[in-house]
Each structure stands twice: as C-alpha cells, then as structure tokens.
Symmetry: C2
Subunit: 343 residues, 2 copies
C-alpha cells in the first residue's frame, strides 16, 4: 500500500491499551481527500516521527497533555510537502515540519509549521535537528550542566535522544557511559558515536558493570528510561549530581505499581543526602523559545561532523503500529521514522 492521489489514509486510536499496545489498539481508516479552503493548503506526509511519548497519549491517565480521543488520528510530528496551496505564504513543493499525525494528508492554515529548506536529510528534522535532539541538548546543557571531567550516563544510548546526549557530553569533555540493549547497539555507541563505554542492560551483572564503568561515580544521569537502569544508577550518583528527566519508557506499559517495599523515601533520601537536583522537563513547553539557538548549534556540529546520527526508517504508514510497538520494546536501532510517501 502507498499514498493515493485521491484518498486519505489515517491510523486512529481504536482502543486504549492495557499494558503494552497491540495491533488491535490501532485502526487504519480511509476517507475522502481533504480540500483546502482559502488560507489553507494540503500537505502530503513524507516522514512521520514515532516517539515513546506517544504511548502516554494513548492512555487517559492524567498527564501533561490531553490524550488522543478514541477514534481520532494518532498524533505525531511530520515532514510534509505542500501539494496544493491557497495560502499566500506557502508554495506548492515546499517542505514543512509540522504535526500532521499518522496520516497521508492533512490540511493546514500554516499554524505551527516550520519551513525546511536546505536540509541535506529532511527526515533529520524529526530527529537530531528536531524534538529528540532538542530534548538532548537542553536537558543535558541547561539542567545537567556537565563540566569537563565529570561522568555522564545516558540510557537508550543508540536512540534518538541518548545518542545526542552522549555526543554533546563528549564535546564538553566528559567521560560518557551509555546503556543500550544488546551487543550490536553497544558496539555502535562506542565505536561510531565515541562514548567511553556502553553497558548492555540485558546483562545479568548489569549493575556491577555499570559501577565498574563509573569508577568515579555519576555526576549527570540523563533519565529517559526509568526502571532497572534508574535503580542501578541511583546508588552511583555523586554529591551534587544532576538528573534531567525527560522520559521513563521502561514504565510506560506498566499497568500498576511494583510490589514493595516502598522505595519512595530511598529516592528522597538520596536527593537530600547527596544534594541531587532532579528535574522533569517537556522540551517545547519549557524551552520552546530556545529552538533557534539549538538548531544553529546543532547544524554547525552536524556539518563539522562532530555529531553523528542514525535513522531506523520503516516504509509505509500501515506499518506504523508494529514499528511503534517495537519501539517500546527497544527493537529499533536509531531514530525511528516512518517513510509515509515518496519524496
């Protein structure tokens, strides 16, 4: 299946998952091609970003953003091309970064769109130059405040956020230890991305290996997974450590709290006695006004070859649900992007 010039496909939230999402939670629907009015344009999706935060939007638990309604199109960032335009500021053929969701086509009045011109890889606007890269940049530099010689740890180290966190930390002169799932990802993180070490969280002696790789403790832990990785990190945190917190993918599919004992006070006691700063952030809500600064700096690092990135591109909108389910299990290798339409 591929994009039709006469019909729109969209993937809607069919039901809310209990635990890990399944195919049954999604439904592919077909509808008439939308028609732009005056001041609108028709956008055709080229690339759709799949990101862990989408799991939260599938649930109706209270969170920082409203959930996707049942029957509504799944939300998501997209790179799209202007197909027809009745908008004075956009011309047919222009590439735009927007938030069209999981569908072939969408109407837009231009609100929230960013024109993409001159990008060597348009899909990078969804990764290293987009939300994940921006998350890595601000969380590490503004909350983490890494100093040369300090030890920085980041999980999901081959992923869209973690890979950028570690590479920026290396540029700042830190010792950088990644955590990833499997030998192949770990090898990539060390050999290609230049981390000092990478520990496989599937190893039975993961915590001991992490401790050995962080002989001087951990000064910055960039938290994007939670779960067992966080448990192993906590006792290794140094006095005055900083813990920027942008996600907890290991917990997203949890259906209840784990059994006791209740370790809440283990965390608060560690924060107190080690004077740790732990701070959650939502990138565009908290740092939206600094996107330009990030984009300029990251573009420079990319063109100088100082930051590398890897994409895991899956063809076909219809494959988005399976790809997303795999993302939550760590099956992707690099930034997961759906190629929805031909360039």
């Amino acid at each position: 299946m591929s994009q039709s010039p006469s019909m729109n496909r969209s993937i809607v939230l069919q039901s809310r998952p209990h635990g890990a999402p399944t195919d049954a939670n999604f439904s592919l629907q077909e509808s008439a091609m939308p028609v732009p009015q005056d001041g609108q344009m028709l956008l055709r999706t080229l690339y759709l970003s799949l990101d862990p935060y989408m799991r939260g939007r599938m649930s109706d638990a209270a969170s920082y953003a409203a959930p996707v309604a049942l029957g509504a199109t799944m939300i998501g960032a997209t790179v799209a091309r202007v197909e027809t335009s009745r908008h004075p500021d956009f011309s047919v053929g222009e590439l735009v970064l927007g938030f069209n969701g999981w569908q072939d086509y969408a109407l837009s009045d231009g609100t929230g769109l960013r024109k993409l011109a001159g990008l060597a890889h348009p899909s990078s606007a969804l990764g290293v130059l987009g939300m994940p890269g921006f998350t890595a940049y601000m969380g590490l530099l503004d909350i983490g405040q890494p100093q040369a010689g300090e030890t920085v740890v980041v999980a999901a180290a081959s992923g869209a956020v973690g890979s950028v966190v570690g590479q920026i930390a290396k540029l700042k002169g830190c010792r950088v230890v990644g955590v990833a799932g499997g030998a192949e990802k770990c090898r990539y993180v060390v050999e290609e991305l230049g981390f000092d070490a990478c520990i496989d969280h599937r190893s039975p002696d993961f915590a001991a290996q992490l401790g050995a790789a962080c002989a001087k403790g951990i000064d910055v832990y960039f938290e994007n997974v939670g779960g067992a990785v966080f448990d192993a990190v906590l006792p290794l945190l140094n006095a005055r450590a900083r813990v920027p917190l942008c996600g907890m993918i290991a917990d997203y599919n949890a259906t209840g709290l784990p059994a006791g004992p209740d370790r809440l006070r283990v965390l608060t006691r560690a924060l107190l006695t080690k004077r740790i700063k732990m701070q959650g952030f939502i990138i565009f809500d908290d740092y939206g006004d600094r996107y330009g600064e990030f984009f300029a700096q990251m573009s420079q690092w990319l063109s100088a070859g100082k930051i590398k990135f890897r994409e895991d591109i899956v063809d076909g909108l219809e494959n988005a649900p399976q790809a997303f389910i795999g993302l939550l299990e760590g099956k992707n290798f690099g930034k997961l992007v759906i190629r929805v339409g031909a360039d």
Copy 2:
C-alpha cells in the same frame, strides 16, 4: 546541675539508636577542665542548638557527613563566651558562634568561630540568624524561586526553619500554607506569623484540608519533614513546581522501608509529567559563601519587625537528650535551644 568552674561535662554517644533515640543512647561524662595552649582559648558554652540533622549523625549509615563516633561528644552549634585566651585575636568575655558540641567547655584555636557582637538575643545566632534561618532563606529563595501570587507550603511551620520559610514567602507576596502538629501551633502560625492558613497534620482529614487550603495547587513545597505530609503534597504540586529538600524528620527514626507498593515511580512520574524540580541541599556546604548576604538581610528584617521568631529554651546540659528526643516527636514549640550556662 550546672556548669562547674573546675570540671567539664560532656554528653557522648553511648550507643547507636535503633529507631527513635532513647536516654540509653547518651551518657554524661565528666572530665578535667581543658587547658588552652598558646594560640588557643577556653570557651564556655552558653547556648547549645538542638537540630533534627543530629539524628543522622547518630547512625553509621552512609550520609553526607561522618557519623559521631561511639564515645565521642555529640556535635552541635553553640554560642560561647571566651573564658581564658592565649589567642591574639580573641579577648576574655567575647561571645562567639562555634561548634563545640554538647559540653560545658571546649578549646578552640579560632578556626570556624564567628564573633557575635551587638546581637540583641545571642541565642538567635543558633536559629533565625543561624543555620535554620539560613536554610530557610537559601532553600526558599534560591531553589524555590517563589513568585508573587504563588502558593507556598511548608511543614513544621512553627519550627526554626518552617517559620522563617513562611514569613519570607509572605514578604514575597505568596499565599502561604503551613503544616504543624496541634491547634496551638497552628494558631500561632496564622495569628502571630501571618501565614494564610495552617493545617494540623494530626487531623484525620489532613490531606483533604490541605487540598482545600491550596485551591490553586502548590507551586513551592519546602520539604523538611517527608512522610505523610509529602504524600499529601505530591498530588497537589502544580506544573513547574519547585521542591527544595533540606530534611525529612518524619523518616529519621525509621528502621526499614515501609511496605509496598513501591511508589518510587509515582514520584519520578510526577516529576516528569509536571516538570517539577526537586533538589536537596546542605546549607553551609552549598551556600556557605552567601552567609553574609543572608545575615545582613535577616538582621534588617528582624529590626524592622518583619520576621518574628520563637525559641523553646530548655535549661541544663543534662536535659539535652530528653529535649532532643522530644524534638524528633515535635514536642518543642519554636527553635529548641539548651541554655547550658549562665550568660
């Protein structure tokens, strides 16, 4: 019993407590009066500060500071008078703030001493003008960053730290809700200190009352108690709330972790989805270089009548253990100080 001109009394750590300290953990010892050498002086303790952090020093669990050794004198801040001096910079009769611990006399070479001149209430150097007041000032203003119109909550609101936190927050234009134990303390907090409300944490419907008093949620929670108060505060925290963390007195006597479920992820999820900053601090380690700024500002507020303070003064070094045991149970009303010797 009172101070002798020929003999020194000290209270030493006899054994480590399991749970709440008891009298048996302390022992009063007598020894020969120490004799200053060249460059030293003999200090006679007038006031000894008793503070919750001392409970941590009685245990040998890893913490931010070394524990008191078994058989060693309990540590603590003191206001003392120079009795005899062989130090060129200190004269007999001068008042000094130091860290002599739980004893009548101590030798000093001047290291770490601060001369106290012109203080209307010398004991206030242990409270509103000392470590507790400084803790309140920096934690609230530097980490908490309260803005006019925001809601600030502080527990142990009639105590040495909480009373100052709330009064500074009022000066900054905040709505201030205290938490204290019992109707008398709550009345004092509202009527004398000027908080907007104060909730008795012993009330069966404490959490509901706190919620009603914080109708617009909580923007700054100054954490100095932990336990059930923190549990009631957590769901009320607003997006971008700040939680300076200087103590958890409710947990200090705990002998193990509470039963499950494990709520660690409840906290980390709240930090993430509400973008909360939670940060522990140890006042002199983290802010020692700003004591002068604090002292000048607080002195001005005191002389202008903008900050009030209350002391709970207990006479006699020998009563320090019982007073300290009571402190951990909230039996004191105001800053707890032992009057060790006549002024």
